[in-house]
Symmetry: C2
């Protein structure tokens, strides 16, 4: 039974789709993500797709009745890219969560969009393979969402982001047609790169219902280290020195002093006793140990303390601290995880700028960074109940954009524009590009029914 206050077109769609729900709680849950953005109203309904046919039917009905559809994976987005409001219907892909096939010889996985990132890695691991893009949210984020945002992660330093690990997509277009992009071969240039156009398009061009992922050989050897430094500036200098020394760590993560304090408070660890900032590095491959030696020599003159993992267990413990950073901050209030990118040798300036912003705006900012890519996560934390997307927090986000811009960088390295970062998009990419991209979007979606108001 569809509530009578819904508008006619969403009611038509929700009545006609067997997987539709208008349950209040479901609508509310499906209308928010992990960005901290709270919409003023919630979606009219949710379709819990279980099959490609369910998605085709949803888009065909939406196309026919002009209903706005918000695609959604696991809802872990950080830019409000899958938030929804009244007059919209959420198309939830989380139940399409199967690994369809792993080809260990070709090193490919065919998956549904709702499968979790960590689940792909677990299954790949059984064949001594891994899936490289590993957002911090690996345990809870879905491959479909990763594709929508061109997600990155720790291993991207060496192995590239989602775009470099997706070979082919099966996509439902806004009018319900099916489109296959790419191919199952490593290389291929027949026609435009439709994979890349879809990847990172934040659910505005089509809905991914199947993806062929490229897996990579699990490194036979790894070497893992953490080094402590007096402060962020010194740690950032060390990270830049690693790049300048032509080394290629598979992981190079920086955590500032405030992050260490949050982790220590949450987990009872004693990072702060060893330094005011931390660098986590991993090398891999047949030369992992030798490369780590070179790396350690490079940073030693700057470090106050260095710990090399003696075995797998110790390595896991060192990496786990990094994975616990964001959960530790979440204990302190409401968080907004930003993701500016800067040239890799300007990390120190970025940290200094963030400290200025923190002081000027009166908000707490904890910063961790994928240092090898120049991709920083300044994490704004406000007291529980206070808005993270307006007021001082929003002003701080604006300041971060201008900081990144001044350093030759970008507003968003791996989270996307969503709703949260719309204000600065034109300034970053330019009006010519924005208008062109909007015309490209209209080719896919002339009615403007797919994730309206998001991304570009």
């Amino acid at each position: 039974m569809i509530p009578s206050e819904l508008n006619e077109s969403t009611a038509l769609l929700l009545n006609a789709h067997p997987q539709a729900s208008t349950d209040q709680q479901a609508c509310q849950q499906a209308s928010i993500d992990r960005s901290g953005y709270i919409p003023e109203s919630f979606a009219d309904g949710v379709i819990f797709a279980q099959s490609i046919d369910d998605v085709v039917l949803a888009m065909s009905l939406a196309h026919e009745h002009g209903v706005k559809i918000v695609p959604r994976g696991a809802g872990t987005g950080l830019a409000a890219g899958s938030c929804a409001q009244a007059g919209e219907v959420v198309l939830d892909l989380s139940r399409m969560n199967q690994i369809l096939d792993i080809d260990p010889v070709e090193q490919l996985a065919a998956v549904q969009p709702g499968v979790l990132n960590a689940e792909v890695n677990r299954a790949a691991g059984e064949h001594e393979l891994f899936y490289a893009p590993d957002p911090a949210s690996t345990a809870i984020c879905s491959i479909g969402g990763n594709i929508a945002t061109n997600a990155g992660g720790m291993w991207c330093a060496k192995y590239g982001v989602t775009r470099e690990s997706v070979l082919s997509l099966l996509v439902v277009l806004p009018d319900g047609q099916l489109l296959r992009t790419g191919r199952r071969t490593i290389k291929g240039v027949a026609g435009y790169d439709m994979n890349a156009l879809l990847i990172g398009s934040e659910g505005t061009l089509g809905i991914v219902v199947e993806a062929v992922l490229r897996l990579r050989p699990k490194p036979r050897f790894t070497s893992t280290m953490v080094a402590y430094f007096a402060d962020e500036n010194t740690a950032a200098q060390a990270a830049s020195a690693v790049i300048a020394a032509r080394l290629q760590p598979s992981v190079l993560e920086l955590m500032d002093g405030k992050s260490l304090r949050a982790i220590d408070a949450a987990l009872g660890t004693e990072h702060q006793q060893r330094g005011g900032a931390l660098l986590l590095a991993q090398t891999d491959g047949f030369g992992a140990q030798l490369e780590m030696q070179a790396l350690t020599q490079t940073i030693a003159p700057l470090a106050s303390h260095v710990e090399l993992a003696e075995n797998e267990e110790e390595a896991h413990a060192l990496i786990e601290a990094r994975r616990q950073a964001i959960p530790s901050m979440e204990l302190l209030g409401t968080v907004s995880i930003c993701d500016i990118g800067v040239p890799r040798n300007r990390l120190a300036e970025a940290f200094a700028g963030l400290q200025r912003i923190e002081a000027e705006r009166g908000v707490e900012i904890f910063t961790i960074a994928h240092a090898a890519d120049g991709n920083l996560h300044p994490i704004i934390v406000v007291p529980e109940g206070q808005s993270i997307t307006t007021g001082a927090a929003k002003l701080a986000l604006a300041d971060m954009f201008y900081l990144a811009k001044e350093l030759g960088g970008t507003l968003t390295g791996e989270h996307g524009i969503g709703l949260l970062k719309q204000d600065w998009l034109a300034e970053e990419i330019g009006e010519t590009s924005l208008q062109l991209q909007r015309r490209l979007r209209a080719v896919f979606d002339p009615q403007g029914i797919l994730n309206p108001g998001k991304a570009i």
Copy 2:
């Protein structure tokens, strides 16, 4: 002075542009590439652009007068993607050949489109860096052309193709507007991936006038080997075994017996005495030697003879044989270098299929392959003076497409569709994708003036 027989609109453009030439020989040279395709007529004129302003002026005039423009780099394309005919004007970018800036700390190079691939690598080498996409034509092909085709090469096995090494482009759109795509940071997801849309678009969406390339640290250590096998089937099995063993060579090239014969004939080498097919492998990084040991152990049971380079000079000699393969074949007649891609464990089937095609069509086919990517170069050779793009050669090309398709592969791994492969594009990518891509093209070029009739 513009010849009177030209059509009015090309004459208007050529008269108005200070860098235009209607010299017969220039027009003829600018109308063909290295595909072997001979157009029935030649371009009305050539504009030898020396600056961004020259390109902007050319496209503004073309836009105003509806003149068809064929962009051209070094003219080394293999799919007739830059061939031109009467009624068209060639926009030659080869004189815009400067390296504008190398940033050794950020590991970036800003270059003009006409700079040669090898020149970028030479300049990068001075900073212990390299540019990964290295087509066999590195000494004579331009970066602009590499971008137009999303070119690959030997090192792509480990480092990816052109798309993975371009961070930002400055593009002149068909109406003369300037568009900047991407950014100078390693990561960034603000807006759609316009870099990737332009890369591989075969000069149909815009004209690249500047590119920011990602350089990579030159490996401190490399190890190089050639192994000989009884026949192509065994060599292909060995290549597949390397992939299956989870090894990651930076180079893995296969040459068939006929190629060895051509090289021996041209260079006086004695490859054939050691085997009926050859595999060239290189590993790199801190574990280069260890990884090569593992690789050699993997293929040893299948090989008849293995040679490990003892020093840089020997390694260079081993690789040089591969680089001389195509020049050696060019001594035997007119060549057409095809580039099908197949799943990596179906290489042996691909070689068997190519031998069938050779026998059935009565054309000579020599095959070399980027084995780690499953990307084969079957090289059709016909006697001098015989057409390489019609008759038996064209039938063989068709057969190759269906062979690749049957094996789950693609018609073109790295050369593009151009004019030569139009017949099979729809069958490969599907009618839905083709129509969609044509509508995307029209967003950039509603008049259809940029490289008409090519690619999609």
